[in-house]
């Protein structure tokens, strides 16, 4: 086996503050990589797809570890692990995030893999991204040029690319907790039932007005485009109506507007198009049922 060190690495740095981390990355330049949990980076270095000379570890920065409920939102720091999110008592309307986190890899992956790392890696199949898109999450970014926030669907700019500059890092994700009756759900399809990179994954958030019609909806799709995408047409199709099976089906079909899938070693584009409507409809129904409980 390749029982060797990642031989390119000459330095390992463990800054303790956010500004130290950014300063370290800036001064080390393009030959350095931020390291969160390492479940993606560790593999890339093993396979020699990346060969950074320096690793700047982010897991010693306390600011990145926060997980707390603030007014109307849950804030999750960039190096919070999937396991911590899974175990946290998140409000039920944020269920899609918990479900998504619980499907990332295995227990071993989730114990060290981080939400920031998952997003920054920007795989179009990232499990947490559709959930965060559906939940209307905001990503907080910090770097040498200061801080800014973007909606999570704008975080991804292309295949495996994000709006992060070379020394930017993801500080936190802020997820609104619905004021209205809200529910969410996540569905993932893979060849097997664990440790999977998805063939397709979807997340849906539904918020109901007092009269039971949909006041707000969020739908995120993964593995069906170069980036995680928001199914805007599908969301619009749900507004103003009670979310029954027909509406769910219609939303599922409308979600195809946002899909530009490809053929790859896991599945064909045609198959992805075929399953997305059903998976979306299923998630809509589950989210709506959950929201109904809080109306």
């Amino acid at each position: 086996m390749t029982a060797q060190a990642a031989t390119s690495v000459l330095g390992f740095h463990a800054p303790r503050t956010l500004s130290d981390a950014i300063d370290a990355k800036v001064s080390l330049g393009g030959d350095a990589a931020y390291l969160a949990g390492g479940t993606d980076l560790g593999v890339l270095l093993r396979r020699r797809r990346l060969a950074p000379a320096h690793l700047v570890s982010l897991t010693s920065v306390p600011d990145l570890q926060v997980m707390e409920r603030r007014a109307g939102e849950v804030v999750v720091g960039g190096t919070v692990t999937h396991r911590r999110i899974e175990d946290a008592d998140l409000p039920e309307p944020l269920r899609a995030l918990r479900e998504a986190c619980s499907t990332v890899g295995s227990v071993q992956t989730r114990n060290v893999g981080t939400i920031g790392g998952n997003l920054a890696n920007a795989s179009p199949a990232a499990d947490t991204a559709p959930a965060l898109v559906a939940l209307g999450a905001i990503v907080e970014v910090a770097g040498p040029d200061g801080e800014r926030s973007v909606p999570v669907e704008s975080f991804f700019t292309g295949y495996r690319t994000t709006m992060l500059g070379p020394s930017d890092l993801l500080v936190a994700v802020r997820i609104p907790v619905p004021a209205r009756a809200g529910g969410s759900a996540f569905e993932k399809l893979g060849r097997r039932k664990a440790m999977e990179i998805s063939i397709a994954c979807v997340a849906v958030r539904i918020e109901l007005a007092p009269d039971g019609t949909v006041a707000s909806a969020g739908i995120g799709l993964g593995s069906v485009a170069p980036t995680t995408v928001r199914a805007v047409e599908a969301e619009a199709s749900l507004l103003g109506a009670r979310p029954g099976p027909d509406e769910a089906r219609r939303a599922g079909l409308a979600a195809l507007e946002a899909c530009t899938p490809i053929d790859d070693v896991r599945a064909t584009a045609a198959y992805r198009r075929a399953v997305v409507p059903g998976l979306v409809a299923r998630a809509v129904e589950r989210a709506a049922t959950s929201a109904e409980l809080r109306r």
Binding site: V9, G11, F12, R46, L55, G105, V107
Partner: protein, 155 residues
């Protein structure tokens, strides 16, 4: 070289290692703890599972530097030489060990599982061990072993 401090199976070590050294290789090649195995080198099979501050992780993709100042438990640390743990005895008795190459990883992952949840259902056992591949047993006796150990477990 960088200096890394580890507490492994209760013993403290300070080691000079290459900055890119993975924890698995440090455990095997530097500390002679050969019980933890490499089978895929990419965090997909769990044969390299160790506990890091009590959490099951794949040591083949964790840099030793990430474990600096932390506690590591390997299969060798699950018991004393005279006295196997409940899980180890259960695995041996229940036919959960065939070639045994996956066994250390399973034992460590199952240890975390039972520490978190003393009476797991079959579904919880399977989800908790989904990161560990076995090619020999078909998993049935592994689940039975964890069940049997759970009955004896002192959290």
């Amino acid at each position: 070289m960088i200096s890394v401090e580890l507490r492994v199976n209760g013993s403290d070590y300070r080691l000079d290692v290459p900055p890119g050294a993975y924890l698995l290789d440090v455990l095997r090649d530097r500390l002679g703890l050969l019980g933890t195995k490499e089978a895929c080198a990419e965090g997909e099979c769990g044969a390299c599972t160790v506990l890091l501050d009590g959490m099951a992780i794949d040591s083949c993709i964790l840099f030793a530097a990430q474990a600096n100042g932390r506690e590591v438990t390997t299969v060798e640390g699950l018991s004393s030489p005279q006295h196997l743990s409940a899980l180890q005895r259960a695995f041996a008795r229940a036919g959960a060990v065939q070639c045994g190459f996956c066994t250390p990883g399973f034992l460590v992952a199952a240890t975390e599982l039972l520490e978190r949840c003393a009476e797991p259902s079959e579904a919880e056992i399977r989800v908790g061990l989904a990161g560990n591949l076995c090619r020999c047993t078909g998993y049935t006796n592994i689940v039975a072993a964890v069940r049997a150990a759970a009955e004896e477990w002192e959290a």
